[in-house]
């Protein structure tokens, strides 16, 4: 196992398309790092550069102490799980797993041992004689996993490995992949566009947009301390609610107001505006931090638009000037659409964003 370091890596396609811009990243040993972003953000390109499948335009890549920027894929000692599994259809499961080992001229009985070991780790030891066409999608995925583990790589690369599985299998494979990672202790880079996948698996998440890194942090960090509107909107289901508000300083303290809202900030929250000299901002609040209160304590009152029961809780949506605000309320009492709801915010969880730079004011 080893660390992975990418220094000022840039990838340009043709003359004008910059897929990855000045990418800096350090992956610690045994870390499970997730590259997260919408499609086309350059996360897959970044990973393919680590694998050597894509040439680096400028910058350097190090695995451990070795510089691998110019090395062909086979000399990097990485292994990869592809989105479509890329299991070779003309080879049996056994041969698929043994492929890399045979190329390394490892003795036959040693190959046999490694293949059986990694197959049993991925729970496919019963399928070694089968051809991939006789396997289900989930089983092919396991073949890809055990093939990747058999080579004992420095770095594990996973390119959206779960996106071709059905929803239920995806969730269970998630847990298994994480368990395998913990058992093998491999340094892993995992690419996905699914934020819940990223949240549930990652030690650290790198959020990318348009080829640039927006935020790096633990799942907790990116969720509760989103650095920009993009991150706050991208992470979480339902995502963060946003409201345009004006800052009004009055005798009793600082108020955030708009036609529907009048929120008196606690003094410690108002502290965040000390160095902020614009008179309006964008307020961000996670749905679970909006609470139902009595009319007297409400910062915000509106008619309920839709209530979506989820069993353990319900998602209550209200509409304010075409802006839909979602909040999570306890399952009881059931809220009937059309009735008035009175809401207030957990103040310590509020995020304030500069409308011009879209970056967070409070950090």
């Amino acid at each position: 196992m080893a660390t992975l370091r990418m220094q000022n890596v840039t990838k340009q396609f043709g003359r004008s398309v910059i897929a990855v811009k000045d990418f800096n990243l350090e992956v610690k040993e045994k870390e499970f790092l997730v590259l997260l972003g919408p499609s086309g953000c350059g996360k897959t390109t970044a990973m393919r550069m680590v694998a050597g499948l894509e040439e680096v335009t400028t910058g350097n890549i190090f695995i451990g102490d070795r510089e691998v920027t110019e090395l062909p894929p086979r000399k990097r000692n990485v292994s990869m799980i592809f989105q479509n599994y890329a299991v070779w259809p003309h080879m049996s499961v056994y041969d698929n797993i043994a492929f890399a080992l045979k190329l390394k001229n490892i003795p036959k009985d040693e190959i046999d041992r490694i293949v059986k070991e990694s197959a049993s780790l991925a729970k496919i030891d019963m399928l070694l004689d089968r051809l991939p066409s006789q396997l289900s999608g989930g089983q092919q995925q396991r073949v890809a996993v055990s093939r990747a583990m058999a080579v004992d790589p420095d770095i594990f690369l996973m390119d959206e490995p779960l996106s071709n599985l059905d929803a239920k299998l995806r969730v269970s494979m998630r847990t298994e992949l994480k368990a395998i990672h913990d058992k093998a202790g491999a340094t892993t880079v995992f690419v996905t566009h699914d934020q819940s996948e990223a949240m549930s698996m990652a030690d650290r998440i790198v959020i990318m947009k348009d080829g640039e890194v927006i935020q790096v942090g633990s799942p907790d960090d990116v969720y509760h301390r989103s650095r920009s509107i993009f991150v706050a909107d991208f992470i979480g289901t339902p995502p963060t609610n946003f409201m345009d508000v004006k800052i009004k300083k009055e005798s009793d303290g600082t108020h955030l107001v708009n036609p529907h809202l009048n929120l008196l900030l606690q003094p410690d929250m108002a502290e965040h505006f000390k160095n902020y000299n614009k008179d309006h901002l964008i307020l961000g609040i996670r749905p679970e931090n909006i609470i139902m209160v009595d009319q007297g304590e409400a910062a915000l009152s509106a008619k309920c638009l839709v209530a979506e029961p989820q069993g353990s809780h319900q998602v209550v949506a209200i509409e304010l000037d075409n802006n839909i605000i979602k909040s999570i309320a306890p399952a009881n009492p059931t809220i009937i659409p059309g009735t008035d709801v009175h809401l207030n915010f957990k103040q310590e969880t509020l995020r304030f964003f500069d409308p011009d730079t879209t970056l967070a004011i409070n950090d």
Partner: protein, 357 residues
């Protein structure tokens, strides 16, 4: 057991099914009949082959009658259509009789055997003497190789040319097909289309320049010359077949091989090539059939070293030209391509049937 419920049969369904089977049968007949005709013809004796109406099946033996004629012995042959004996020879040269029996009727008969029959006639026991001679059914095939002295070397030459054509067109066409499938470069589609242009010219139309160019290269009347000419056409076809096959192989399969330790060459050998095998087999089949069957260019571009189809063609010409001999030669020519097609077909089916990419 469940009760069988009779469903009312719809008239439209009956009609459409009837028409469907009529079409199928017509098609089958259209394909089988000429082939049957060729096979049957190749076993007919010369006399049968030029009879009218032509017999549908070759006879296995011939009934003769022998009696005294004006000039010697009168030989008659039983005609199945007219249901009578027809006089064919009146001679006292016994050798002439045996040659006629062999060449015209396919019934090899020695002079001694003729003398035996004559002895019966002379003894006065029977007049005329009737006797039956068995036909050597493969005589046409034997005669074909005896009469066309070039046949065996031409057969070997045809194998050589077909083999080399496969090699050249698969090597060059396969590589070009891979490039067309994997790399995007300016003018790719135009180039891919333009390789088909070479197939648009009839061979005869460019025969003269081809003769001159090959002569200048020193390849006129040599197998290599024909290999070059045939390869041009089959390279184009190979490019189209292999390009579509390579496009069907996901790039990630090759990338996976590279990540897992293979060089580019090993990747091709262990991943791309086995997966492309059905396409390559199909391309090889077309290249083989093209080179094996081609006649027009071969007639023009060879003189003393003809290919097998040219020899078959020549069997129709000149004093020795006989349709039944040409039919025998044609069948000899069909056998290798049938065998080759069956072998290749197994690969195509095996790969496309058993493996889904």
């Amino acid at each position: 057991m469940a009760k069988r419920i009779k469903k009312p049969i719809k008239l439209s369904k009956v009609i459409s099914k009837t028409i469907f089977y009529m079409l199928i049968v017509t098609l089958a007949i259209a394909i089988i009949l000429p082939a049957f005709f060729l096979v049957s013809l190749s076993f007919l004796s010369t006399r049968e082959a030029y009879q009218y109406p032509l017999p549908l099946l070759p006879s296995m033996s011939t009934e003769y009658s022998l009696t005294h004629g004006n000039r010697g012995y009168l030989i008659s042959v039983y005609d199945k259509f007219e249901e009578e004996y027809q006089t064919v020879l009146d001679t006292n040269e016994l050798e002439k009789i045996t040659v006629y029996m062999k060449n015209q009727l396919g019934t090899p008969y020695t002079i001694a055997e003729i003398e035996e029959q004559i002895a019966i006639l002379e003894s006065g026991a029977e007049d005329p003497v009737y006797f039956n001679a068995r036909k050597n059914i493969f005589l046409n095939y034997i005669s074909f190789f005896q009469i066309s002295r070039d046949a065996v070397p031409a057969l070997l030459r045809s194998f050589q040319i077909a083999g080399l054509t496969i090699l050249v067109s698969l090597t060059i066409g396969g590589m070009a097909g891979y490039a067309f499938a994997r790399y995007i470069f300016p003018g790719r589609d135009a180039l891919k289309f333009s390789v088909l242009f070479v197939r648009m010219f009839p061979g005869v139309a460019i025969a003269l320049p081809m003769v001159i160019i090959l002569a200048n290269m020193g390849f006129y009347d040599k197998p290599v010359g024909l290999v070059l000419v045939y390869s041009v056409g089959s390279i184009a076809l190979t490019i189209w077949i292999t390009a579509s096959i390579f496009m069907g192989i996901p790039e990630s399969l090759e990338e996976a091989a590279q990540v897992f330790g293979a060089t580019k060459f090993q990747t091709f050998l262990r991943v791309t090539f086995p997966l492309a095998l059905p396409g390559l087999a199909a391309a090889a089949m077309y290249a083989f059939l093209g080179a094996w069957n081609e006649t027009v260019s071969a007639i023009i571009l060879t003189q003393f070293n003809p290919t097998f189809p040219v020899v078959v063609y020549q069997a129709l010409l000149g004093a020795v030209g006989n349709v039944n001999l040409a039919a025998a030669g044609g069948l000899v020519m069909a056998v290798p391509s049938l065998i080759f097609t069956f072998i290749i077909r197994r690969y195509i089916q095996q790969m496309w049937g058993g493996v889904t990419i």
